[in-house]
């Protein structure tokens, strides 16, 4: 007697949800697609929200930017909640190792007092900027319509809160966890002339109404100048003074910024490439905000790396903007 072994395959009735199949075709979808596309309610709203009755819920008119379909803006990292949390847990583990090493060896407390003061005056006050960035990105996540866009911004918001906490921990390492250094650094933020233009810019950004204008200001312009200036140029400047140890504690910020550039660039490319009207509007906003971001960082650059470093960073930002058919006004050619 012979036994014949044969395989039988059962075709599933559906490969994925209908709304995902309508967009990508009837085939197995990625988790990112299933967790990100066409999730928000679009029709049949009964009441306008009391907090802003000019618009419906999930109303695309909350920004002046017009997109045929906002879902063309998607995350090249393909972060949905699970992937995002897993990735950040890994990054945080690496950062924790550096922080506990620094703490155990007491590396920051051993620095000369003058260098410690500079860290508290020039770097730690940025935690207030980070909190502003957290609030701005949260607002954007609330106002943006497509889930791909809002989820990128809410992850960005959480990241900024984390970065703010890392900066606070640097201060706590300097003062031996008494909190004195945090008070001192907040004093610089509130009263030092050096920080007032930045403080004004952050406060002004909190009341920007158009959410895409806000993401342009926060994530493209301000961060595009601030992160390279502080975490690359100023980092090198600290190293020259023998404070290389601080680099261990800011490595997270460098890794994070490199990664977040990818989705920000992808978003800008999609939105600026959609229409000339979008590009003109973006250019108007850049003309308005880019010089303000530059001016806000000017005193900080002058007190540390020198203005040349900020100008170089500005030229780099301009090169980035050019890829989207935009430019910053401060840079000639």
């Amino acid at each position: 007697m012979s036994i014949e072994i044969k395989t039988d395959s059962v075709e599933p009735i559906r490969q994925t949800y209908s709304h995902i199949a309508r967009r990508f075709g009837e085939k197995p979808a990625t988790r990112y697609q299933e967790a990100s596309y066409d999730l928000e309610a679009k029709v049949n709203f009964h009441y306008r929200p009391q907090w802003d009755s000019r618009y419906e819920l999930n109303d695309e008119r909350r920004t002046a930017i017009r997109m045929e379909d906002w879902y063309v803006v998607s995350d090249p990292r393909q972060f949905y909640y699970g992937a995002y949390v897993g990735n950040r847990a890994k990054m945080q583990e690496a950062a924790e190792t550096s922080y506990s090493f620094c703490d155990k060896r007491n590396l920051l407390a051993r620095l000369p007092e003058e260098t410690q003061t500079q860290i508290l005056r020039l770097m730690v006050p940025l935690r207030h900027v980070e909190l502003g960035a957290n609030m701005n990105n949260s607002k954007i996540a609330g106002d943006a319509t497509a889930t791909t866009v809002s989820q990128m911004h809410i992850y960005q918001a959480m990241d900024r809160l984390g970065i703010g906490q890392y900066l606070s921990r640097i201060a706590l390492m300097v003062d031996g966890t008494t909190g004195k250094a945090l008070d001192e650094s907040k004093g610089y933020w509130m009263d030092d002339e050096l920080w007032q233009p930045m403080r004004k810019l952050v406060e002004d950004s909190l009341v920007v109404d158009d959410w895409f204008e806000l993401t342009l200001l926060q994530n493209v312009l301000l961060d595009g100048l601030m992160y390279p200036l502080v975490y690359h140029r100023m980092d090198a400047w600290f190293a020259e003074q023998g404070a290389e140890d601080i680099s261990m504690l800011t490595e997270f910020m460098r890794d994070w910024q490199k990664e977040s550039l990818r989705w920000i660039n992808a978003m800008m490319k999609a939105v600026a490439g959609e229409s000339d009207a979008n590009r003109d509007l973006l250019q108007q906003w850049i003309d308005h905000w880019e010089p303000r971001a530059y001016d806000a960082l000017k005193p900080i650059a002058e007190a540390s790396t020198g203005l040349d470093a900020l100008d170089e960073v500005r030229a780099e930002l301009n090169t980035r903007l050019k890829k989207f058919g935009l430019q910053s006004t401060g840079v000639s050619a």
């Binding site: 395989t7 039988d8 395959s9 059962v10 197995p28 990625t30 988790r31 995350d75 090249p76 990292r77 393909q78 990735n87 990818r262």
Partner: protein, 90 residues
């Protein structure tokens, strides 16, 4: 003489779908077969898996060795380094 087929078989899961897409993008001459719970990709003589293409598909850094988690079987001589994984008959 008949064709000399190289092949690679993956488990049909969320990871391997990215791999299958990357392989099909790099090897237009390849043929993909969906079998119960597996994806088999075969091609005449040569199949290339590039790290760069895979990283683009995935949106993150990718180590060629990560692939092995999802591999069920391969046929062909293997040439592997940090940037690619090549199957061919020599």
């Amino acid at each position: 003489m008949s064709q000399q087929l190289v092949f690679i078989v993956f488990q049909d899961n969320d990871n391997a779908r990215y791999l299958a897409d990357a392989i099909m993008a790099d090897n237009p001459h390849a043929e993909m077969q969906h079998q119960p719970a597996m994806i088999r990709i075969q091609a005449d003589k040569r199949l290339v898996i590039n790290r760069e293409t895979m990283e683009e598909e995935l949106g993150r850094d990718w180590d060629v060795q990560e692939m092995l988690i999802d591999v069920i079987s391969i046929g062909g001589n293997v040439d592997e380094d940090d940037d690619h994984f090549i199957l061919e008959w020599k």
